[in-house]
Amino acid sequence: MTRKEEVFERVEKSILDFDGDKAVEVAKEAINSGVEPVEVIERGVRKALETVGKKYETGELFIIHLAAAGEAANRAINEVLKPEIEKKGEEIHFTGKVLIGTVAGDIHEIGKTIVSAMLLASGFEVTDLGKDVPIETFVREVKEQNPDILGMSALLSTTIPVQKDVIEALQKEGLRDKVKVMVGGAPVTQEWAEEIGADAYGVDAVDAMKKARKLVGA
């Protein structure tokens, strides 16, 4: 095994161990030893996430493992690898870029967090805006980050209309055509998604991941 392969393996293992601190540490070591950060992502981070995804499909690992591996991977990417790649003026190839959040007035975000984990494991770059996200924040972040997909969740029938408000605000700002919009949450249905002009609705996390892949043509 070459030294490079050893590095990839250590990155992969840290994620498979769900160890975010370790993932950051070995990613730094990789950079210090001169390995290309893009390669670390593709042959270390992504390989680990693929393994986790496969093991989730076969029932060997659970959603909690998927979420923990996703978090570890995200830390290695965001804290170490991405800044390095940007320094070099290069780009990381993701399945797609997703901006996701729970709408204003709603703080029930566990479903959205599960979807984020699923998308991360599926190779997406995910920016999670958290809960109780104001309409203006969604609009501003879409403008600044230029994601492929905007995902919005709502659990309450009192907050679900906000999904519509966000879509309307995107229209007003001339941003609606620049981003695909996905909606989810217990009271959301396909009909609601169509009514408010969303591009897709995910009935659960796996469905959301499949629909997201379809939207970006992956």
Partner: protein, 488 residues
Amino acid sequence: MVKRGVKGKELRLLSDEGVEAIHNAALDVLRETGIDCYSEKILEVFEEGGADVSDKRVRIPEYLIDEATKKAPSKILFCGRDPKNDILLEGSRIYYGFGGTPTPLILDHRTDEFRRPTKKDMIETTLVGDALPNMDFIMTNAGVFDVPYEVEYLHELDVLFNYTEKPILYSAPGSYLARKYLEMGIAVAGGLKELQRRPFITLYSEPASPLMLTESQENIIEFAKANIPIAIGPMPLSGGTAPGTLAGSSVIGNAETLAGIILAELVNPHAPVIYGGWGLTMDPRSGICAYGSPEFAIGANTITAQMARFYNLPSYGFGGCADGKLPGPQSGAEVMMNALVAGQSGVNLIHDCGYLAGGMVGSTEQAVIVDDVVGMAKRIVQGVRVDDDHLAVDVIKEVGPGGNFMTHKHTRDHVDEFLLPELFDRNSFGTWQSRGAKETRTIAKERVEEILKEHKPEPLGQEIREKLSKVIKEGKKELITKQKEAEG
């Protein structure tokens, strides 16, 4: 003529030390970490009440918890529109409730299709709940989704007020909807005094996990002010919004419920509250809230009932709910388990009967099946009577060896000792075959149709119905204006 519920069995899975440990852990969390309140109104109440408030974080000292739980009444008379449906929440008496909060889907008993429920569906499900003999209070197994989201709750309340004479337990998130819920209740009761004397509505308020109260919980303030009962029950999910253990989830559930109770008692000392300090479970594999799991059954009922007894408060639990997607083997086993555990635990209000698919689907067909299951659970909890008459030694001596007891008067006199199921088939095999060899689901569907044809609860007077319609009309106008203002 209060319906005094069967006394549950006070099943103990926690030792006294265990109960105290969960209490102490919640005190620790409330004092050190505190809760976040996403509501100015709620923050104000806590601040004035003596809690340590900084920004939206509220840290609650022990004395506030002790005072609140001591002030809250230990018994609540929860009335029906018809007094024969009144239930008394005290001690370990058990009562089962039809449905829960609105389900986004309904299993159509006519077409076997899962679809979005309409107002007509909710009317039908409410009629079924009102008719089922073992359902003691009413929530819902549908939701009204053929109206704008803003007025969904108003239409749902309208259905409940019109189509059941049993006690109504329902949500109305936020202060506006809570006031409307009260306004409708007052219209039906004929005045606030009348409603207070015979509260036939109770609010369900659900703090958000972990450790948050939002504008939704402003409904607690409204109901406390009106002195109408409030059931507080958060839904912490182990491994998701709570630690991945049942005890840890119970600490979170207890802390959130206590925070809600303190809010109510600070607004109105002695406000009637019902304790639902649930420690619930997330399936770690799929991430769904696992209504049918054994841990859910004991977290929602046994631990809750034990904690409620510790605080001397009426309690709120779950039963008759399933993760199975269809009526059948899985959902049947799940509902029997949690309905029986709830009864054995002696938790007062046992809700969610008829839920399928982890609360995503309501089903009248399932609800009539659950009603029979609940009958069995109640029967088991009743136990065995042992006295001279029931030991029947005289009868045994009279009939003697080799005789039979079929024709003895004693047998006829005690035929009530045996619960006869409304739905489940106990015919001989031959009879079952000759009557069409029907599957349970078929019988359940027929029973739903029969109820819908025959069951007619006493309608509300014309004037009251008009008042309710007016609330909806005004609500629609006000909610849409409010939204416009927010946008403008």
